[in-house]
Amino acid sequence: MPNADDIRSGNKLAGARLIQLIEKSDPNGFKLLKELYPDSGNAFIIGITGSPGVGKSTLIDGLIEAFRKMDFKVAVICVDPTSPFSGGAILGDRIRMQRHVTDKGVFIRSMASRGHKGGLSRTTKDCSVVLDAMGYDIIIIESVGAGQAEFDIIKIAHSIGVVSIPGAGDGIQAVKAGILETANIFIVNKSDRPDADATVESLKMMLNMRFSSQTEWLPRIYKTNALDKTGITIVAKAFLSHLKFMRQNDEWTRKRNELERLYFQSLLEDLVMEKVLEFMAVSKEVEAAIKSIGSHETDPISAAEQIADKILGF
């Protein structure tokens, strides 16, 4: 059982063990998480999203280097998709960042989505709380580039970066899917490609159509070539500018509160859902209802309403 003080002092084994307990849904894990929660709330959480193959991991490798040079302690959570057929996963993002593995100020954790929709794993937020409590200044979360339904990252990160590549239509697709409204920094990677500038222009046009007020952060667009590290330090500084902007405009507090509320909401949903599923698995009423539906004595809609009203007391 990891020790709260060890975790607070940044002990990697202890922190990793706690993350493990949480992933295994061990009640001791949540007990400890609750205890450590007050120690969190300081880290700057950056979400990096984008379709597969755009170079997110390579970009993050460069960001780690840039932030470390500025003396920040950096943690990274990489989420990869679980195979729907086997339930297993290849967690391969870390290979791109492996040169930082023995840097004392860096922590990299790989997670599988485990069927969770939305681009992250169900326990990503919990994991970020642990890393926050361990004292990491910046936590970068790399989300599965599902493209279409990428909304989890919005609930967890203070600042969102969307990575796309020139030419690939789906770079702009991801922008259409809802990230456009929320992303703060747009990164056009593999910018050595000939159509990089055209992609930047398209993005600019789309962003100009976005509503913005005086106190809102104007999204920025950057070109990078993650393979030869061009442009990454500027992106790192851009994220820090965003952080500064948020602090100056009280946006930071508002954002933190919003994220906390979303965390509470999602935990509540999970807890309730769990209870409902447990109930459904053993309830005689549910069993009877299913029989009635089968023999056409009642329809699924009425049956569901009845059970919800009666048993759950709504």
Binding site: G53, S57, T58, D61, I90, G92, D93, I95, R96, Q98, R99, L227, D228
Partner: protein, 551 residues
């Protein structure tokens, strides 16, 4: 890998045959197949020794000269290797083929922490010019050429070879060195890479440019389809990726203003022979033709000799099995037959026990006899390209050519070989194929004689119920490391520190800019800078490569 996929009916009759490269094979071929494939004698075949060389590079091929065989050597200390070299030369060998240990291949000195347990293990340990002087002492370097199996630090080894030769009184124009020097294939299938892709290619380019100007008898690059195939590529991909790699190197040097005609003639290839016999033969015939066409059409090379696909077509270890090892003797014979029917000029054959050990003298001799028998007894020298004109082989050769071109086009679509490897496309494709093929072998979808698929085995002991031989390893000799390290210390103590420092500084300057690093490396070698120091300069300037995601 390498075995075709056979679909049989309940009676065991073959209903479908698909080669690994993706070609389906009919039960019988006739003149209509040639017509359908668009076969034209002059365009697709030609006479032996005539463009496009499909049949053979030479008009008489084995009639004038049997194939040559190569023996790999080198382990332990340079002094021991030197003894072995002299023995082989005394036995009539006209060329040396040198192996280096892993620390040397990876640019580390023998006393580096990562070198522990590896000094002298898989080849000779080289830390500085002193070691090369010991290895090549008393060897007539003006008459004996040396193949160096070295890639990431090939430039350093080439420079050191020149420095050693100069120390012995030879001129660089007299010596012949053939470093393998194919960094792109390392990144796909052998793993001995150091620097990022573009820098690796720059170094290859520097060595080619230098060889053109200063080392007229040397062959700067040997492109290895061999390892790419061992990693999971199909035969068509082996050629396609090999040629795409060649293009990356040619383009790099061409961009420096050097005419490809000045150096492509000295490229050689290292290709794999195992698996389905006909697929291999068609592969090599198509490869000869495509290489000549590519050089002529894309690079304007006209000199006949420079259009030749020279190389070693060697029996691949992947074909052999641990199960029933004596079966590998026959496999070796069939692979050698394939190489002979393909017109290989140079060949090598894995020994039957190579799947699990370093060959014993007896098994090495069996391989040699296998190769001899084909040439001297069974009739493979009788006539050039005996299968020419076969409806099947000519159709298959054309189809193979198509497949190879298709695969090369895909690489072009991804932006060329350098981009494909940087992004991991090739690696992912090849490892997925390796996985699918291995699954197929274990499930019985592909069959190899003597190997019982998992699904048909009774649950039994570890050996799986079939005769499987155990792996035998050479004992690692701690003395090698001790010897190398003490020699290294001596070198550091006795050399001129200022000259080392200055020469390394000049190397760094060239590496940072666009100047050719080769002359600076030669100077560093003469100053007794170590392999670790010279590679260290490159590591600082170029950085180290990070592999792309493998899945």
């Amino acid at each position: 890998m390498g075995v075709a996929k056979y679909i049989k009916d309940e009676k065991g009759a073959i209903k479908e045959v698909t080669y690994q490269s993706g070609i389906t094979v009919k039960p019988a071929y006739g003149p209509e197949d040639l017509e359908q494939a668009g076969f034209e004698y002059k365009k697709d075949l030609g006479a032996p020794g005539e463009f496009p060389f499909t049949r053979s590079l030479h008009p008489e091929s084995y009639r004038s000269r049997a194939w040559t065989t190569r023996q790999y050597t080198g382990f332990g200390t340079p002094e021991e290797t030197n003894k072995r070299f002299k023995l082989m030369i005394a036995n009539g060998q006209t060329g040396l083929n040198v192996a280096f240990d892993l620390p040397t291949q990876m640019g580390y000195d023998s006393d580096h922490p990562l070198a522990q347990g590896e000094v002298g293990r898989v080849g000779m340990a080289i830390d500085s010019l002193k070691d090369f002087e010991a290895a090549f002492a008393g060897i007539p370097l003006d008459r004996i050429g040396s193949g160096l199996t070295i890639n990431a630090v090939a430039t350093i080894m080439m420079a050191m070879y020149q420095a050693a030769a100069e120390k012995f009184g030879f001129k660089k124009e007299q010596i012949s060195t053939t470093p393998q020097n194919d960094i792109l294939k390392e990144m796909i299938g052998r793993g001995a890479w150091i620097f990022p892709v573009e820098h690796g290619v720059r170094l290859v380019g520097d060595s080619i440019e230098y060889a053109v100007k200063e080392l007229p008898k040397s062959n700067p690059v040997s492109i290895c389809g061999y390892h790419i195939r061992e990693s999971g590529a199909t035969p068509a991909q082996e050629i396609a990726y090999g040629f795409s790699i060649a293009k990356a190197y040619i383009d790099n040097v061409k961009d420096r203003g050097i005419d490809p005609s000045d150096f492509v003639g000295r490229f050689s290839f290292n290709f794999n022979v195992y698996g389905n016999l006909w697929e291999q033969i068609a592969k090599f015939r198509a490869a000869r033709k495509l290489w000549a066409k590519m050089l002529k059409e894309d690079y304007g090379v006209t000199d006949k000799k420079k259009l030749w696909l020279r190389g070693l077509f060697g029996g691949g270890g992947s074909g052999l099995t641990k199960e029933q090892p004596e079966n590998n003797i026959m496999r070796g014979a069939y692979y050698a037959l394939g190489a002979a029917l393909s017109g290989a000029q140079t060949t090598a054959l894995c020994s039957f026990d190579e799947a699990y050990t370093i060959p014993t003298p007896r098994s090495a001799l069996l391989s040699l006899r296998t190769l001899e028998m084909l040439m001297e007894e069974v009739g493979l020298r009788d006539t050039v390209d005996p299968l020419a004109g076969s409806y099947f082989i000519e159709t298959l050769t054309l189809q193979m050519e198509e497949k190879i071109v298709e695969e090369m086009k895909e690489v072009e679509k991804w932006g060329g070989m350098v981009k494909s490897i940087s992004n991991g496309f090739i690696q992912r494709k090849v490892s997925r194929q390796a996985y699918e093929y291995e699954k197929g072998l274990q499930s019985g979808e592909y069959r190899k004689v003597g190997v019982i698929p998992e699904s048909e085995r009774q649950e039994s002991a570890k050996s799986g119920g079939t005769e499987k031989s155990d792996v035998e390893l050479h004992e690692y000799n701690e003395e090698w490391a001790k010897h190398s390290i003490s020699s290294l210390k001596e070198v550091r103590r006795t050399r001129n520190d200022k000259e080392v420092k200055d020469s390394l500084k000049a190397l760094e300057k060239a590496a940072k800019g666009k100047d050719n690093i080769m002359p600076r490396l030669v100077r560093c070698c003469h100053a007794y800078a170590t392999v670790g120091e010279m590679t260290g300069v490159f590591r600082d300037v170029f950085g180290e490569w990070t592999e792309p995601d493998f899945y």
